[in-house]
Symmetry: C3
Subunit: 157 residues, 3 copies
Amino acid sequence: MDEIATHFAVERLLARYVACIDDDRLEEWPAFFAERCRYQIISSENYEKKLPIGVFIATSQGMLKDRVAALREANIYEAQRYRHLVSSILILDNDKGIVRAQSNYHVVRIMQDGATALFSTGRYLDRINLNGAAPVFEEKIVVCDSRRIDTLLAIPL
Amino acid sequence: MDEIATHFAVERLLARYVACIDDDRLEEWPAFFAERCRYQIISSENYEKKLPIGVFIATSQGMLKDRVAALREANIYEAQRYRHLVSSILILDNDKGIVRAQSNYHVVRIMQDGATALFSTGRYLDRINLNGAAPVFEEKIVVCDSRRIDTLLAIPL
Amino acid sequence: MDEIATHFAVERLLARYVACIDDDRLEEWPAFFAERCRYQIISSENYEKKLPIGVFIATSQGMLKDRVAALREANIYEAQRYRHLVSSILILDNDKGIVRAQSNYHVVRIMQDGATALFSTGRYLDRINLNGAAPVFEEKIVVCDSRRIDTLLAIPL
């Protein structure tokens, strides 16, 4: 796969990923990850200090499914929606279809009463496997710029 | 046209579309649509409930021209500007050059005194005809995340 | 280079450019410009009135290096970070690898205490030389939508 095709595959995966979350199709969200994977939300400060303190961490697709089940149970998801924008995707490395990519995001949160506010900004640091039938995240580290992250964090980023 | 070329054509159309609005070249805006078209601004809530209640709806290029004339008449356009960001474009279907695409947007509004605020977030649901000399929207549904939409809605989204 | 490859080269340059700023690797920032260049931050109002009043202007890579040195000296950079999103890239002209391009940006500023706010929105108007070993900006005009720009402007946009 050439450089442009690789970029396009990553861009498309990210577009499908954020559409899944923004459309509240959370049951489909774990399938974007490999069976054994790493999904972590961490503040920029802790990430740079290499402090292993994440707001949320999961190391398997099963844990992501549990997370969604817990969210549905709590019914928190009804109270809010997200709208992701992602840009400035960079392919950092491509080792036989195992791609490291980074991108920037802004996420806006829309509450049920219509109140809209910037919720989180940061970077996605992804390791993506492009070799399967559909590309999947082997690792997705969400590095949030602000240390002030809503500890509830109802919806995945 | 292959997948990447189709994506590129849609991305370029959307980029030209938002540049036209953000540059206040509203007189050029109706030409982005087919003669018979559907342009609708609707809240996410009404869209999902399939309630046919749109903040604004037009079914021809002529109606869009009337809209622009009304805006110019009212001189409201002088008081504000928009800045669109669009990302996460997905081609959902391509039937011989008739393409269904969706994308995410964040729009910031800048008032004449410089005050800047997030104005609207949401999705574009587009049906685009790529077969003509220039691509045009046959349908553009702007699904706003928030029910709180400024009813004036001076500028198109 | 065909249209898609040119677009991709410009998109990649912009992605690397904003990653450099957002990662606080400011010492690498001047190398994105040609030795003789033009980097200007100007309000939309002054840009449209063709008033030669810029918030900041530099006409060589050396001036950009001086700027970074001054920022490091002042230690202001520690107090804040940016997160850029860039979209709607349009190639306006391509004269043998000298490309004129425009794009939209939203920049969020994150203060050290975690406070996050929309800092600047606007357009990049770029003249890019794609003929060298790495693409460089010959001209980058940052047209800010709001006249209310923080005069300190610690970090480049």
